[in-house]
């Protein structure tokens, strides 16, 4: 056991957890921590330009790698600026640890300068949070924070560090295995439930695998692929699940829900068995609950018991890590070879014929014409083509997000980073920075809207400082596009506050920050602009002037059944 300063203890704990990169912004309450970090050359600190971006970048880092992302913010406004990022990570179950400075313990509760009760503020949007109020607790709290963030259903954990404890002398001992009396997440599926699920599958004629972010979080995509292939079962993914199953595989029906494919929504409405894996029956997926999968028995695999039977009553609940449940199901089928052989080959042939007829009748598409107007979907298709589907794509929120989800075919998990639950505009660019810092060899593209890119555009300075070349594709329609689309469809085209025709010259703005700006105004320019961006070793902002009133289709109007889609 050694005695060191609180700041040294925090840095040691970060090392212990394998942290290599921290995203943050200094301030008075964390000045001692920053002083210590200056000597910790093995920990790279990325100075962002707004605290929201620090948390999004830590989140992007976590989504791209599966490791815990770390953000460091000062007290008061530094901490409150991070709240949107924290809530974003919470809604998508992303493991991050947020360290916030706090005023010295004797001043807590006195309305001191830059004091805010950040533990109180973030209680409903963190998996757990701590105010360290005794120096003896500091090391243990840091260790518990990382443990809680990465285990069970992952999520953000905030640790509030009063300045006097950072300066105090604390005892530091070696890490022992953690055991928390009140926190022991269950990973293993119940064998009886696996058997029940297996039997339901063998009895089904029209099954659908409905896959969410849980498969990616648990790294269960290989097991998912093996199971889908073994049983020849069609797969649909939620927004968060994209990449867990290859988008261009025959068994993939693409995304389901409000902007899902015709095939996926029809298949869910007709299936007799819905196998939900790491998804949570979100309202954007189900539409009206009464009409969702009305003929189906439901198997629900989720590590979080609260997700099960929250929105939809299920027949076979399976509280488990998705990867392990899928592996056990695979084993169950491999051990009962007689049933499996019936499944292979001709299995579900009528069902597949039906699905193929839906695919042919209404494929995912858009109105194509001979004009030289740029369609946003075309831009995404070209990004897909010119990166061979291998880039990490991040998105902002709105139409850009949906087109990015629909028209890029994600072959791999952890390649589509998007704010699914909270729907945070401003997420994509800082998340791209986090992903690129983690994986410098990867091409990272933020597919953005002209409105949402402006919410964290100051990070152009960060990418300049760290030579972190991100590609930004702005689908510029001079509208707050998704809200405009709703106004067009449901508010008699009354475009209240959604016209965004006052905007900076994005190309000039990029150049002002030391990045490269490119503009495409014609469809025939698109390919060349993307090619130039991809071959430039710098951050490149591509401004695509797209057809202004293009909509995202299919679309299920709010409050309707998912079969009541508006099609192209």
């Amino acid at each position: 056991m050694t005695t060191i300063t609180g700041a040294q203890a925090v840095v040691n704990c970060l090392r212990e957890e394998g942290v290599k990169t921290i995203f943050g912004y200094p301030g008075g309450a964390v000045i001692d921590l920053y002083d210590e970090l200056m000597d910790a050359t093995d920990l790279e600190h990325i100075l962002v330009r707004h605290e929201q971006a620090a948390v999004h970048a830590a989140d992007g880092y976590a989504r791209a790698t599966g490791e815990v992302g770390v953000a460091l913010l000062t007290s008061g406004p530094g901490a409150t600026n991070g709240v949107t990022g924290i809530a974003t990570a919470y809604l998508d179950s992303i493991p991050i640890v947020i360290l916030t400075g706090q005023v010295p313990t004797p001043l807590i509760g006195n309305d001191a300068f830059q004091e805010v009760d950040i533990v109180g503020i973030t209680r409903p949007c963190t998996k757990h949070n701590f105010l360290v109020n005794r120096k003896e607790d500091l090391v243990q709290v840091m260790r518990e924070a990382f443990h809680i963030a990465r285990t069970g259903r992952p999520g953000p954990v905030l640790v509030d560090l009063p300045k006097d404890l950072i300066k105090a002398q604390v005892k530091f001992d070696d890490k022992k295995p953690l055991r928390m009396q009140s926190y022991q997440p269950n990973y293993e599926p119940h064998p009886g439930q696996i058997a029940k699920a297996g039997e339901l599958i063998t009895q089904s004629q029209r099954p659908v695998l409905y896959v969410g972010g849980g498969v990616i979080l648990s790294d269960g995509y290989q097991e998912l692929r093996d199971l889908a292939k073994l049983l020849n079962m069609p797969v649909t993914m939620t927004l968060m699940g994209l990449g867990s199953y290859p988008g261009d595989d025959d068994l993939s029906m693409g995304m389901l829900g409000m902007h899902g494919t015709y095939t996926a929504n029809m298949a869910v409405s007709q299936c007799d068995l819905l196998i939900s894996v790491g998804a949570r029956f979100d309202d954007r997926v189900t539409g009206t609950l009464e009409t969702f999968a009305p003929h189906a028995k439901i198997i629900h695999i989720d590590i979080d018991p609260t997700s099960i039977s929250k929105n939809v009553k299920v027949d076979v609940p399976l509280v488990s890590d998705c990867k392990r449940a899928l592996a056990e199901l695979l084993k169950w089928f491999q051990n009962s070879s007689s049933t499996v052989s019936e499944f292979r080959g001709e299995a579900f042939s009528d069902w597949h014929a039906q699905i193929n007829s839906w695919k042919e009748a209404h494929p995912l598409t858009y109105q194509k014409d001979d004009s030289d107007i740029i369609k946003p979907q075309y831009v995404v298709e070209m990004l897909d083509e010119l990166t061979n589907g291998e880039a990490i794509i991040t998105t902002e929120v709105g139409q850009n997000q949906m087109w990015a989800a629909q028209f890029y075919r994600y072959a791999h998990p952890r390649h589509f980073l998007t704010s699914g639950g909270l729907g945070t505009m401003g997420y994509g660019f800082p998340a791209a920075i986090g992903a690129k810092m983690a994986m410098p060899e990867k091409t990272v593209i933020d597919i953005a809207g002209d409105a949402s890119i402006q919410m964290c555009i100051q990070e152009l300075a960060t990418v300049k400082q760290y030579n972190c070349p991100i590609k930004i594709a702005i689908l510029n329609n001079q509208f707050l596009g998704m809200v405009r689309q709703w106004q067009e469809l449901f508010y008699e085209k009354r475009y209240a506050s959604t016209v965004m025709d006052v905007a900076p010259d994005f190309v000039a703005l990029a150049e002002a920050y030391g990045a490269v700006g490119l503009r495409a105004t014609k469809k025939s320019d698109v390919k060349a602009v993307i090619q130039e961006a991809l071959s430039t070793d710098n951050t490149v902002l591509m401004d695509f002037e797209i057809s202004r009133e293009e909509g995202v289709y299919p679309m299920v109007p709010a409050g309707k059944a998912t079969t009541e889609m508006l099609l192209v």
């Binding site: 209680r123 409903p124 998996k127 009396q181 009140s182 926190y183 609260t306």
Partner: protein
């Protein structure tokens, strides 16, 4: 339907607000709530009474259990249990009603804990329905103040334990 939930918690600052924040944030209802230390100094027991159909109670139980500082959640209503609540009532007690108040309190096995020229403060312990009954009976005499503790509960031991 009414449910009495018994929740064992880590006895740490802010834990109670995690529980109450969960109820307000998710739109669940709390009818009463009582919390204090248990035999172990670092564990508290929180007893709360809530209402809802089976699905809501299931969600409440699971959501409570999901809180990192919650050790155990028991729905007392699922088994056989004893429920108790205490009430302090200040009731008017003037010359012509003093004897009547004492008789009522005696019937309910309560006791007088404070006396003034014009009122008694009385203490009654019992099941929530008994507490309701004593309040209703004293009402016509004139109640000036009521302070209730909320319900606490303990499971009955099995016959062969």
């Amino acid at each position: 339907m009414k449910h009495t939930l018994s929740v064992l918690l880590q006895n740490k600052p802010g834990v109670l607000s995690r529980v109450t924040g969960l109820f307000s944030g998710r739109g669940f209802n709390i009818e009463s709530l009582c919390v204090a230390e248990t035999m172990e100094k670092d564990v508290s027991c929180l007893t709360l009474v809530t209402r809802g159909d089976d699905n809501i109670i299931e969600q409440i139980t699971k959501q409570l259990h999901k809180l990192i500082d919650v050790i155990k959640v028991t729905d007392a209503s699922e088994g056989s249990f004893v429920e108790r609540e205490m009430v302090l009532i200040r009731v008017k007690a003037e010359a012509h009603t003093r004897a009547e108040v004492l008789r009522v309190i005696d019937i309910f096995r309560g006791k007088v804990v404070d006396v003034s020229a014009k009122s008694y403060a009385v203490e009654v312990t019992g099941s929530p329905s008994k507490i309701q009954a004593v309040i209703e009976i004293l009402q016509p005499i004139g109640i000036k103040e009521i302070i209730r503790t909320g319900t606490i509960a303990i499971g009955r031991a099995g016959k062969n334990k």
